[in-house]
């Protein structure tokens, strides 16, 4: 207890110093000095109980503010309810998880849990937590916080989007406290990648949120406007300032539980500022003007513009190759028989023929899409697993080149024929025409759709491209099923197959082509469903890989999704930023924000 008191005092002392120092460099020096002494004392004395995680990154120097950008304002800072990318980007800098997936190696590594054990049947996980570490307000962290977090997430009244991840086979995971620093998790069934579940589940401070939870106000807690002291987490940074319409600024969490090899407590940066810059073009312009230190998800156009001026401007550019996003075309295979005589029911007779989908796939010029839409910065896809996922991609998947002849043969084999002017008609003489919906404003998707239109016109199909506002599009695809074909993309959040479950199992929330019911429309659909469920509980990697390879083969043959392309992850950064290691898994640029530092002090940006 005494130790806790001392730690608390030291923390406050440091905060006061930080508040006193008006000029940046003074704060830097003072903080650096304290951190070094603190770290020397920390390992081992006089923080005997604090079990810091020692990172292996090159030693950095303290100070500086990193400026990044968000496409939109974060809607919330509440890790329980956040769904939008901007909110998650900020929240992940302020919170920590038990077991973390290293975005660069794609492997799990200890975080708040220093070690863990799995029972032989794969159903019981015992996690040993780090002792003596503290939340960003200086209060200690222990097993109660972990149990509280899982209680909140699993509470159906809270409506957390993360709840789905914690429910395996219809039953939730159970968390039980063994002692102050040991937690046992019980899974309803063995899960091959259970430890990956813990990634990105932000541990909540019970001492702050218990009262809110009891009042059933979890969904209103922690808006961006919440006073900075009240948003508490275990991440490398904590909330400093939120200015609506302008920026959100995070400052160093002085209690962060990582240190480098020489004992310097991380993070190195004083602050991270997220500016709200609407479009990708706006971010690009600000990055080019030197207002941003980091920009992730650049468009291929802007990347090549930056590349031409790289020498003069002082930034580094990274083409990380394809990421985990896959763009695809799919046809509406929902059961529409209730709609009776509407044209969609007739058209579904074409869509349901696997030869029809195969013909479409064979006619599409994937290389052309990569070249025209992505300026060559993308990978053509024939299956849904992108080349970035080296662990799981089925390298033996056939990659048939574009062939209009084969497409015509396939169409002919199921009764399609051509009129004199080249228009495709089905066996009843109906002209084959349908529309492809996609989201308006996404120029890459609109362009891809136009290329597809041209490719299918060569088969005699009349295709209309209909860009729809995103809300209207999701409404059609997820609720009314009032569409014929759709062009969309999905991003896998992890290298493991499990986050893909809801795409491939029957009745899954993202089982896009057939959301209407959990009954399979064809034999291959139930086979994919069965394979995905089996791989979930198979513990051996090689067996799992075999099952998942089969899924990939089925997807490539039966084409519920006609996969097209995976865009490259393109990132730019200030050349003075060190330890910068952008990853092709989501949060791309700032996943290791705690280790980033500026080689030279970055000049103060007037803002």
């Amino acid at each position: 207890m005494d130790n806790c008191e001392i730690l608390g005092t030291l923390g406050r002392f440091r905060q006061i110093l930080a508040a006193l120092g008006r000029q940046r460099f003074r704060v830097q020096l003072v903080l650096a000095g304290i951190a070094i002494t603190a770290a020397r004392l920390t390992l081992p004395a006089p923080y005997p109980n604090e079990e810091l995680l020692v990172t292996s990154n090159p030693i950095g120097r303290y100070g500086g503010r990193l400026v990044a950008a968000l496409r939109s304002e974060p809607k919330t800072l509440n890790p329980v309810t956040a769904v939008d990318v901007a909110s998650l980007e900020v929240i992940r800098r302020m919170t920590a998880d038990l077991i973390h997936i290293n975005r660069y190696t794609h492997r799990t590594e200890p975080a708040l849990a220093k070690t863990w054990k799995v029972s032989r049947d794969g159903r019981h996980y015992i996690l040993h937590l780090r002792r003596g570490i503290r939340f960003s307000d200086g209060r200690p962290f222990n097993a109660d916080d972990v149990v509280f977090t899982f209680q909140v997430l699993l509470d159906e009244k809270v409506h957390s989007p993360q709840r789905d991840l914690l429910v395996v086979g219809g039953e939730p995971i159970a968390a039980r406290k063994i002692d102050a620093y040991t937690v046992e998790f019980e899974l309803p069934q063995a899960d091959a990648a259970a430890e990956r579940i813990f990634d990105s589940i932000a541990i909540l401070p019970r001492h702050v949120l218990q009262k809110v939870y009891d009042e059933e106000k979890m969904d209103q807690a922690w808006t961006p406007g919440t006073p900075s002291g009240e948003v508490v987490g275990l991440g490398p940074f904590r909330l400093k300032e939120y200015n609506p319409g302008q920026h959100i600024i995070l400052e160093r969490n002085p209690y962060y539980w990582k240190a480098d090899r020489t004992g310097n407590r991380l993070p190195y940066l004083d602050e991270i500022a997220f500016l709200f810059a609407g479009s990708e073009d706006a971010q690009f312009a600000r990055f080019q003007a030197g207002e941003l230190d980091v920009v992730s998800r650049l468009s291929p156009d802007n990347f090549s513009l930056l590349e031409r001026k790289r020498q003069a401007r002082g930034y580094k550019l990274y083409d990380l190759g394809p990421g985990f996003q896959y763009e695809f075309l799919f046809f509406n295979l929902n059961d529409m028989s209730s709609k009776g005589t509407e044209p969609i029911v007739r058209e579904q007779e074409w869509f349901r023929k696997v030869e029809f989908r195969q013909a479409v796939s064979a006619a599409l010029d994937r290389e052309g899409i990569v070249r025209l839409v992505y300026q060559g910065r993308g990978a053509p896809l024939w299956g849904h697993v992108t080349p970035a996922n080296k662990m799981w991609v089925d390298a033996a998947l056939p990659r048939p080149p574009r062939s209009l002849d084969r497409a015509r043969q396939l169409l002919k084999s199921v009764g399609f024929s051509w009129k004199d002017d080249g228009t495709l008609i089905d066996s009843r003489g109906e002209i084959v025409q349908f529309s492809i919906v996609t989201n308006a404003g996404n120029s890459q998707r609109e362009k891809t759709a136009t290329i597809i239109q041209d490719d299918l016109a060569k088969l005699g199909m009349r295709v209309h491209v209909v860009p729809l506002e995103f809300r209207a599009l999701t409404d059609r695809v997820f609720h009314t099923f009032d569409y014929e074909a759709c062009l969309l993309g999905l991003v896998s959040g992890d290298a493991d197959p499990n986050p893909e479950m809801n795409v491939w199992i029957l009745g899954g929330g993202t089982h896009l082509w057939n959301l209407s019911q959990s009954r399979a429309s064809a034999q291959w659909e139930s086979e994919i469903d069965g394979l995905m469920r089996r791989q979930l509980t198979t513990l051996d990697y090689h067996q799992r890989k075999k099952l998942y390879d089969r899924v990939q083969q089925l997807v490539a043959e039966d084409l519920p999704l006609i996969c097209l392309v995976s865009p490259n992850i393109l990132v730019g950064a200030n050349e003075n930023l060190e330890n910068f290691q952008p990853a092709n898994l989501s949060d791309y640029a700032l996943w290791n924000a705690d280790q980033l530092f500026f080689r030279k002090a970055s000049p103060d940006q007037p803002r």
Partner: protein, 377 residues
């Protein structure tokens, strides 16, 4: 009223005695006076006719089809015309080289100087239809395959920008003309009725026109589009846009025509004709509508470029004709990408064409107006 009557009767007197207050202008001695310029209606009419026939026979003037993609040449800059080959020989007929994309650097193009491709006149190329009647393969100019000539570069899909500009002009210019005709006709009819009959009909029509003047037509169009089914073919979309834009714009010509009719119906010769027992229809046709002719014509010339712009706006927002059919609006929408805007100047060509056409129309309007002022229409 007295003055109006006087001038009108003066104008309609069979001798060409000028209206007093116009006299000094008509007798202006300088060669650039309005009377001189007013005689030069052809200054605007001939270039406009040329532009319209260019786009009407787009198939002949365009070297390629508007939808033909060459996926090896996205955003290729305009072909360079050469006269001197690598051996230093001079060619009388300009020639081009074949453009090849280097494999490593997307966006850069090189000329393959191993062979020259002289520009041919009246060459055979992709077939097109003339006025929907017969098919032809003759194009004004072109080069032998595998080379291609693209004087205005190529767009994001590797389509010839010049061909698209011509075909796109067909959509944009004729949409403007048709919409202007529609709205002037509706406006003239309603305005004539309102002005001629007066009373409650006049009041109702004019309040109604005020409503229309205040209507945000872009939002109206968005709303109408939202009610339509997903699959709208390019021609349907175009017709819809023309109809809506044309119908919404009836209010202004209607009010102008009403004013003219209002003054015309009280004139002595009209009253005289009425006295002789002429029917309303006869009066409107014979005496009132001819009076509005100048106003209507000027309005049409004024509205046409505005409606061309309206069509361009709609297509720019994706509400007009859809891909792959070009219009100047959807061609300009590629400029929404910063890369295209900053790097590919040739993609601005529809905008330049639009400026040119609008200026010609405004010239025509001002010439017409001057004629109207001096009463030569």
């Amino acid at each position: 009223m007295a003055l109006a009557d006087k001038s009108a009767s003066a104008r309609h007197a069979s001798d060409a005695r000028p209206v007093p207050f116009l006299t000094p202008k008509r007798q202006a001695p300088t060669g650039t006076g309005p009377a001189q310029r007013a005689g030069k209606l052809w200054l605007a009419l001939i270039p406009l006719a040329a532009v319209h026939s260019l786009v009407m026979f787009a198939g002949f003037f365009a070297p390629e089809d508007y939808a033909e993609q060459d996926r090896t040449l996205p955003l290729a800059p305009p072909s360079r015309l050469h006269f001197v080959d690598p051996q230093g020989r001079f060619h009388v007929v300009p020639f081009v080289y074949r453009i090849v994309p280097p494999p490593a650097r997307p966006g850069d193009y090189l000329e393959d100087q191993s062979r020259v491709f002289p520009i041919g006149i009246l060459v055979r190329g992709t077939p097109y239809r003339v006025a929907g009647i017969f098919t032809s393969r003759r194009h004004l100019f072109g080069v032998e395959a595998p080379a291609k000539i693209f004087l205005l570069g190529r767009d994001e899909y590797g389509r010839d920008q010049l061909s698209r500009l011509l075909y796109g002009g067909r959509v944009s210019l004729f949409a403007g003309l048709l919409a202007a005709m529609l709205s002037v006709t509706t406006g003239a009819l309603l305005g004539a009725c309102a002005g001629f009959y007066g009373g409650w009909l006049d009041g109702a029509l004019m309040r109604f026109s005020e409503l229309f003047l205040a209507l945000p037509w872009l939002y109206l169009l968005l709303a109408v589009r939202a009610f339509l089914p997903l699959r709208v073919s390019p021609s349907e979309a175009l017709l819809l846009a023309i109809t809506i834009v044309g119908l919404v714009g009836w209010a202004r010509p209607a009010r102008l025509v009403r004013g003219v009719v209002l003054s015309a119906r009280g004139r002595n010769y009209v009253l005289a004709a009425r006295g002789f027992g002429a029917s309303d229809f006869y009066l409107i046709r014979r005496h009132v509508l001819p009076e509005t002719f100048g106003v209507v014509l000027t309005q049409a010339a004024l509205l046409a470029p505005q409606y061309i712009l309206a069509e361009v706006t709609l297509s720019f927002f994706g509400l007009g004709v859809g891909e792959p059919v070009p219009s100047w609006g959807n061609m300009l929408s590629s400029l929404l990408r910063y890369y295209v805007l900053s790097q590919c100047w040739w993609m601005l060509s529809p905008g330049l064409a639009l400026i040119g056409v609008s200026l010609l129309y405004y010239l025509l309007t001002s010439l017409l107006q001057e004629r109207l002022r001096i009463g030569q229409l």
